[in-house]
Amino acid sequence: MSDSKHDSKSDSRSDSQSDSTDRLIATAQAVVARAQDLGAHTAEVLLVTHRELTAKIRLGKPELVLQASSRALGLRVIRDQCSAVCHTADLAPAALDEFAAQAVDAARLSEPDPNSTPPDPGDLATAADRPDLDIHDPAMAKVDADQALAMAIAGEQAARDHDPRITNSEGATCSIATGQRILVTSGGFTGSYGGTFASLVVEPVADDADGKKRNGHWWDGRRHLSRLASPQDIGAEAARRTVEQLGARKIDTCQVPVIFSPEAGSQVLSTLFGVVSGDAAYRRSTYLLDREKTPIASGLVTVVDDPLVPGGPGSRPFDGEGLASRKNVVVDRGAFTGFLCDTYAGRRLGRPSTASAGRGISGPPGVTSSNFTLVPGDITPEDLLADTDRAFYVTRLMGFGFNPVTGDFSKGAEGFWIEKGKRAFPVSEVTISATLDELLLGVDGVANDLDHRSSTASPTFRVKTMTVAGS
């Protein structure tokens, strides 16, 4: 699953782009035709372009200005049910002819897989189902290095001004990314979309007792520059989050309710995505294998994967195989609706695709999430907290401690100890453990603070009990 900060997809095309877009579409079409001429039964080309401006500053001075653009092309061929995927950045016509021949040749090394097929042409998105997803902002093309540096400097300065305990900084980074994706398939699909993403992250550092440092960070990222939070607000929030960790300590091992902040909650959702993916199902690598249509979470939990969220960081008008995007309800008031599938996973599981194919240039399509979110509840996070007697409130999770086959979940955590509905003191160097099954079934409160800043996002939620391991 891609990190939303590096996402750059959009659906509307600006005028300045359309000339070159038409040329790139023609290039992709030529490669598809060439591969078919050489004997490929299926040929699919993804062409991506990327332009970035990254400005990083530290202690008020520039540390890095990176400005560049790139493009690359990936080709999947299927011949007699045998697949190969090749990629190149050399788009000269002669080189592409040679490239297509190599791809068709490489397919000879793989073995027939009857499920390796493209979508049925009748299922492909038509020009009529290309919604405007509001993910392209022409203003981003006008941002120059000095402006990006100024935003980063303002963000860091706001953090340092906010609290005298901010003694150092890992800096601030402003990134502006513009990209385009063009998909052409031998099944008759041609589509393109372009988009933008701007982000600003501020990372202050404070000194704690015993020579320990405490870093914190805060960030915002949006498809439109004008919707990005101000550098002042981002910097102040980063400072607040840094100093509130001062004096953090371990707690004794206990079993208590655990409240997940939106940041920690989104990591739990990432974990969930891995086990509702059809790829995991046909590989028998998910604990949810026999759990479709049964409760896998408390009735407060509804999870959707929605590529059509206006301005969403994970929004896409069509999927990686050219199917029209649609919203999928994955967990409906606790019940597991079914695995998310691309065409291949769907065929393996004997069902249609859910239009959940993602695709990069260097591999075959695979199941990916778009905007994968826990649907918010009715209460405010403050009320959820106030309703909690003793609990561990998690702001940050660390590590790879999840086994999708068994659902065992064990991760490093930091946050706050909650006593009588209030933050009592900061906590670090503990772990939280349960199975993901127990965690989801134990959700007993979902707040209303969902923010679509990242493509996998969650509001604050509370779990009845987990093991917190400390001293």
Binding site: M398, G401, G412
Partner: protein
């Protein structure tokens, strides 16, 4: 794409010495302390074997040149994918806009520099006959399936690459390197009734197919199956602080997280690491000597030259518990007035280098590994891991166990379910109370992420005993 011709001329005339001189001159035309050009040609391939068949074949090539100008602490960076004069000059000029000091820099004249050869490979695996490689994959698959009837799914992947780089620097160096690499990996799912478990194992490095003469693919397949079966009946792990014994090899991931990242000089230059300003102080028990060693023949993390054109080398980081130094890139070495250590690495030509580890090892000690286990009345023995992470500032690090057992009365007993360990870097190495004689480098599977960039690394350690680290189980 088995094109073995023109091994040294993949960059064409765009990378000849005079062209580099001109481009470096352009880069420094507005001033700056230092500039370099990083040419990279990366050829990659993969085989995915699943459900008894070769499911997909992947091939790819990327090519480009990154231009960098450093002025004080500021870096300007741009890159070009076309190695034609105009786009390369544009990249050099764009990178140069970071400088504010004005031009009048002396003309640059690069000349070829020599380099060592820590990975003498006649034929990169990418160029070996396809049927040889596919035969190795099938052997691993067959061995995993034959291990036990409970094995229900086997996936074997072979990822391969040949990365060719040319670095030209404004201090006159022009260095080339060819970096072959492969990673062979087996994942298994085993099922007994309603119970299911997974296991994985792998290997590789900067070697040719002769690697498989020492490490047979059957052994990798069987090891993955063994772990899945061994963990099938795993019980819930304890929660809380206890003694942990780490097995040799892969446990080096602890070292990588607990101290490795904290000793990368960028964090120390900025005084954002727990280890900042502590050279000469005790940061570990006196049983601990830690090195970063780029010179191990054929190892995954080895480099002849780093991505700034400096030779890879062996650097002592901690000697008998005393912090001796940091891992540097050119920028940190210059700003901290230290010797460069050849640790400037980057994922590819689209990004700037940072101080990064190569192969990071804790060296062998005096204790018999069996005696170490016997010395523990109640604790955990850990031998396989899925990965780790560290927060540089406060030093908290985690690593996740995928194969571990209880130790009871000096004996390894019940298998434990996947569990996370958490500790604090500057604290945990002071708790090392026994170090085994059985040093082993992990086989070549590890990849390190930092600043959004992935680079291949090696880890290694002997058996270690840690007196007290928090185990994140569920049995409070």
């Amino acid at each position: 794409m088995n094109d073995s011709a023109s091994r040294t001329s993949v960059f064409g005339p765009g990378a000849d010495a005079h062209q580099c001189d001109r481009l470096l001159g352009e880069a420094l035309s507005r001033g700056g302390d230092y500039a370099d050009l990083f040419f990279e040609h990366n050829q990659s391939g993969s085989f995915t074997f699943e459900d008894g068949r070769v499911k997909n074949v992947g091939r790819g090539v990327s090519l480009g040149m990154g231009a960098r100008v450093v002025d004080g602490e500021a870096t300007g960076y741009a890159y070009a994918q076309d190695l034609e004069e105009a786009p390369m000059r544009e990249a050099a000029r764009t990178a140069g806009t970071i400088a504010t000091g004005g031009g009048a820099t002396e003309a640059v004249a690069v000349s070829a520099s020599s380099r060592p050869d820590y990975y003498p490979v006649d034929t990169p695996t990418l160029w070996a006959p396809d049927d040889h490689r596919l035969a190795l994959i099938r052997r691993a698959d067959a061995a995993a399936r034959a291990y036990d009837p409970a094995v229900s799914k086997v996936q074997v992947t072979l990822g391969e690459g040949l990365r060719r780089v040319l670095v030209a620097t404004s201090d006159g160096r022009l260095v080339t390197d060819e970096q072959p690499l492969f990673r062979f990996f087996v994942r298994v799912v085993a099922e007994q009734g309603a119970k299911r478990q997974s296991g994985s194992s792998g290997g590789g490095g900067r070697q040719g197919l002769s690697y498989f003469e020492g490490q047979r693919p059957e052994e990798i397949g069987r090891e993955a199956a063994r772990i899945a079966l061994a963990m099938m009946d795993a019980q819930e792990a304890p929660a809380g602080e206890m003694t942990v014994v780490l097995g040799p090899g892969d446990s080096g991931i602890l070292l990588h997280e607990a101290v490795g990242h904290g000793l990368e000089a960028d964090f120390n230059r900025k005084a954002t690491s727990n280890y900042s300003g502590r050279v000469g102080e005790a940061v570990a028990s006196d049983l601990c000597t830690v090195v970063d060693d780029a010179t191990v023949t054929g190892a995954r993390g080895s480099i002849n030259v780093d991505d700034e054109g400096l030779q890879g080398r062996r650097t002592v980081l901690i000697e008998k518990g005393i912090l001796r130094g940091y891992m540097h890139d050119r920028l940190s070495a210059r700003l901290m007035d230290a010797h460069p250590t050849g640790n400037g690495r980057r994922e590819d030509f689209t990004v700037t280098p940072y101080p990064r580890m190569t192969n990071t090892f804790l060296l062998a000690g005096q204790s018999d590994p069996e005696e170490i286990i016997r010395s523990v009345d109640r604790g955990i023995y850990a031998c396989h891991f899925s990965g780790g992470q560290v927060n540089i500032s406060n030093g908290d690090f985690v690593f996740s166990l995928t194969e571990s057992y209880l130790i009871e009365g000096g004996k390894i007993t019940a298998p434990l379910r996947g569990v996370n360990l958490i500790g604090n870097g500057p604290d945990v190495l002071t708790r090392v109370s026994m170090v085994g004689t059985d040093f082993a480098a992990a086989d070549g599977i590890w990849t390190c992420g930092k600043e959004g960039q992935s680079v291949p690394v090696g880890v290694g350690t002997p058996t270690l005993k840690l007196d007290g680290i928090t185990v994140g189980g569920t049995q409070a």
